[in-house]
């Protein structure tokens, strides 16, 4: 077995063992820590409780990290779910004498259902509304826990008045009594279980982050619209995510109940939810080890004498009225972290090591793409007689403005259709109609002979309609490689359960396609960079590669040549022709007329949402009405000219 430290020493021959290095390292650290506090006897009891509290909290903050760090959803409710889990476990034990396993199930299931419900309630909201709803939840839970007489109010639970004891009788799991670390002469089995669960939770979260499912969270964080266009059903995924993270909070809460064998309502206030966010941010949101470091530091600070000493020092040397106590100090830590260490402790360290080892991280051999996989368009034949994609008489108005007015178009495999027209002609709206962002007021869209007018973006993406955006949308959190990989179908097809079980192993399915797409757009040598290290043209290429990785039949490109230099445009032109030759249908929105002339089979010119001319690029571009439209003549002039 190898610890992470050992790995650095000799890197070569241990490739087979490398996947085990991280789990083994984590398990080793946990085991050493456990041994230290257990073997110490009564003197070590407070340390044992500290370790237990950190481990229990960690299970919750690991979940919160997925939410905040990966999906960019800020929740103040993790503390509330933690409390619900704790009380669910305790109550079913104390009142109903359930088997421990069933109590665990209840502690996980109740928050999971509630979390899913919060997701359903908030899924169409943007911005701070999720934070708001979780804040409301935290307040409601806090009130309920402190005011419900069945839970003993401020006497805690269990309490002497009702249960003749303030401590829960140790439940037994598979014949082993789960003893809390409260007495010196017993082995704290509950502590061992909690630490073991925390280790498993950490490994599972790490696996999830590396999975296609985890990558879909990063795309949701960057843009829900992007996620939908990659085929992800954002609605269902958010429900799954919040259920899962809430379940983790509940499990952590159950462990907390085991460690202390007693619950006080004032533990589970809104402040707990805030503290958990501090833990995640301080440690490094979105990093695997961030929650571990953050939780350990914050819990240690809260329980150790350090905070007390700082408060004492303030009252002695500064002022005995104007000082900060524990809560204020934690808040101050949060503020300082956001100012000085925005990536958190682990995130900053990672960035530092990345900067110090640039060569090793960035040189990726084997940039040459393999043979292009057969394009999907070739395999799935369009049904006889119909076009692959056709739009009939589509119109869409915003308020009083007709953005698209009676547009019909069609495109077949191997064909490039160019949409041109001056700014504001409705080209982007048309693209949004095709990809499903908008639904037309009238008209219909058929794809492979089926009416898709009322389907949603993720359904169209799954069916094989890929697109790029006018302003590139890429995930800054992912590397170039992972950005392209997020185009591959597994991002929407992988289920949470599969991601938990298979994780990193299930990535090879689309590898050939991703490598080919990277090579096709000329990014093969830059796969380990992050998008912000790329030029604008390269970010456009990245988007194109991501769209290609989804194996589309129809590719809709919204101004792909905007901002490209001459040689990049030439490469793009070459690539588009090659893709069309492989059987891909391409709809190209473009202002770059040389490119249109070079690659397009047909061109359609729009003006003010209405089709003006359609035909070969040469005829369309030579049409005086088109020239007039681009030169900005007003409508009457155009009409005059067309009459003449």
């Amino acid at each position: 077995m190898k610890s992470p430290l050992a790995r650095r020493v000799h890197d070569g021959p241990s490739i087979a063992l490398r996947p085990l290095a991280f789990p083994a390292g984590v398990a080793l650290v946990a085991a050493v820590m456990l041994f230290a506090v257990i073997s110490g006897g009564a003197e070590q009891l407070s340390n044992a409780q500290l370790v237990g509290q950190i481990a229990a909290m960690l299970i919750a903050t690991l979940g919160l990290n997925l939410l905040v760090g990966n999906a960019g959803m800020h929740s103040f409710g993790q503390g509330a779910f933690f409390g619900i889990g704790a009380y669910a476990f305790m109550y079913t034990q104390q009142e109903w004498n359930w088997p421990a396993l069933m109590s665990f199930a209840a502690a996980v299931a109740v928050p999971a259902v509630l979390g899913g419900w919060v997701a359903i309630a908030t899924t169409r909201m943007r911005g701070p509304q999720l934070a708001m709803v979780t804040l409301i939840l935290a307040v409601v839970v806090q009130r309920f826990l402190s005011e419900a007489t069945a839970l003993g109010q401020f006497g805690g639970y269990p309490n002497v008045a009702k249960h003749d004891s303030t401590l829960l009788e140790p439940p037994s799991l598979f014949g082993i009594k789960l003893e809390a670390p409260l007495f010196g002469d017993v082995v704290p089995t509950a502590l061992i279980l909690t630490v073991a669960l925390a280790v498993v939770a950490l490994l599972v979260c790490r696996r999830l982050m590396g999975s296609a499912w985890g990558r879909s969270l990063s795309t949701i964080k960057e843009s829900e619209l992007l996620a939908a266009h990659l085929g992800v059903n954002v609605y269902l995924r958010k429900i799954a995510l919040l259920s899962y993270t809430s379940a983790m909070a509940g499990l952590g809460g159950a462990c907390y109940a085991l460690i202390f064998a007693h619950l006080q309502p004032e533990t589970f206030t809104l402040m707990l939810g805030v503290n958990m966010i501090v833990m995640v941010i301080l440690g490094g949101a979105g990093t695997v080890l961030g929650p571990v470091v953050g939780t350990a530091v914050v819990v240690y600070l809260q329980t150790s004498s350090t905070i007390g000493a700082i408060v004492d020092a303030q009252t002695r040397y500064i002022s005995d009225t104007w000082f900060l106590s524990a809560q204020g100090l934690i808040a101050l830590i949060m503020l300082l972290t956001l100012f000085l260490l925005p990536a958190g402790i682990v995130g900053s360290l990672t960035a530092l090591s990345r900067r110090r080892l640039p060569q090793r991280r960035r040189q990726v051999p084997n940039a040459e793409p393999p043979v292009a996989p057969a394009s999907a368009a070739g395999e799935r034949e369009a049904s006889s007689g119909d076009h692959l994609l056709s739009m009939m008489d589509a119109s869409l108005s915003f308020g009083g403005v007709r953005a698209v007015n009676g547009v019909s178009l069609r495109v077949d495999p191997g064909e490039i259709l160019a949409l041109i027209g001056p700014n504001g002609a409705g080209k982007s709206t048309l693209v949004n109609l095709i990809s499903g962002v908008y639904r037309g007021d009238t008209g219909r869209i058929e794809y492979r002979g089926e009416d898709i007018s009322s389907t949603r973006p993720h359904e169209r993406a799954r069916a094989g309609i890929g697109r790029t955006f006018q302003t590139p949308i890429v995930s800054p959190d992912l590397t170039v490689y992972d950005n392209v990989r997020s185009g591959a179908p597994e991002i929407w097809s992988e289920k949470l359960g599969a991601a938990l079980l298979a994780g990193r192993r299930g990535v090879s399915a689309s590898k050939a396609r991703v490598d080919w797409a990277l090579g096709a757009v000329g990014l093969a040598g830059l796969v380990e960079l992050t998008p912000d290290e790329l030029s604008y043209g390269q970010r456009r290429a990245l988007e194109l590669a991501r769209a290609l990785a989804s194996e589309p039949s129809v590719l809709v490109l919204d101004e792909p040549a905007a901002g490209l230099n001459e040689s990049e445009t030439a490469e793009l032109s070459e690539l588009l022709r090659r893709l069309a030759a492989d059987g891909l249908a391409i709809i190209l929105v473009e202002h770059h007329m040389d490119l249109v002339r070079e690659v397009a089979d047909r061109a359609l010119c729009l003006i003010e949402g209405t089709p003006l001319v359609e035909g070969t690029p040469a005829t369309v571009l030579a049409d005086p009405r088109v020239t007039a439209a681009y030169l900005g003549s007003d409508e009457s002039e155009i009409k005059e000219k067309s009459r003449a």
Partner: protein
Amino acid sequence: MIDQICVGASIGCLYALVAQGFALTFKTTRTLNFAVGEFMAIGAFTCVAISTVAWIPAPLKLGVAAVVVALLACVVFRFLISPFTAAGAHDARWLLVTVALSLLLVDVLRNSQGTTHRALGFAKIGGAADLGFAKVPGQLALMAGVSIALAVVIAIVVTRTPLGITMQAVAEDAETAELVGIDARRVGMVSYALGSAATAVGATLWSAHVGVFPDMGPVLLVSAFAAAVIGGLTSVWGAIAGGILFGIISQLATVWFGSTVGGVAGLLAVVLILVVRPDGLFAQRIEVKV
């Protein structure tokens, strides 16, 4: 029953005023100040501090509180909120900053001022205001009257004056507004100052009723936030309606089912409203442009 509705509506007027502050800043800056509750407490404590100065008339004392809080809001927006929105629409660090600020301020207030409820020292009136169809405690009526008057004035300013048009421009598209010479950050700062100042006046009058204490913030924060969300978070008139609605729901639930249910009934109503109309009752959904 009608009395209770009027009492609820009166408290709702205060929620409306605070909610309107949220709507103002969210409209123009896409941010909210989670520390606004502590700002209100600071305003009230400022009034306590100057309550013994006899030569300042009571309305002017409220004005002092408003100015202090407005300045504080400007500083906080400039140095704590604005820098943490730089990374675009996904940047939610401002949210964490204001929550941290709220915890920090309430801690300082507790330590320095103690947790007991102190008397405001002025603007105390007894008796009941008779509205003809219902009776409302005079203290509440005063607070409600001033709050709703301020809220209506602000709503008119925001929708009808040149300043309001500037705000609307920033709300629609801050980048384009900057191109035509509007300083979006200054507009944001004005929104913060305006919203916070009005809020401080309303909350101080409320504290004449319930006393001045460091933890007065959270109660108002959650209710007002809920009211703003009901109203749609960007609508200044919606915030007024949302506040009054929330006040009435909470009051009636308290009378009928006790304080525990009353405390959460309004919040649950908010969640229900959000499920049906995710953008609140009075805001139009704006589509994302790509």
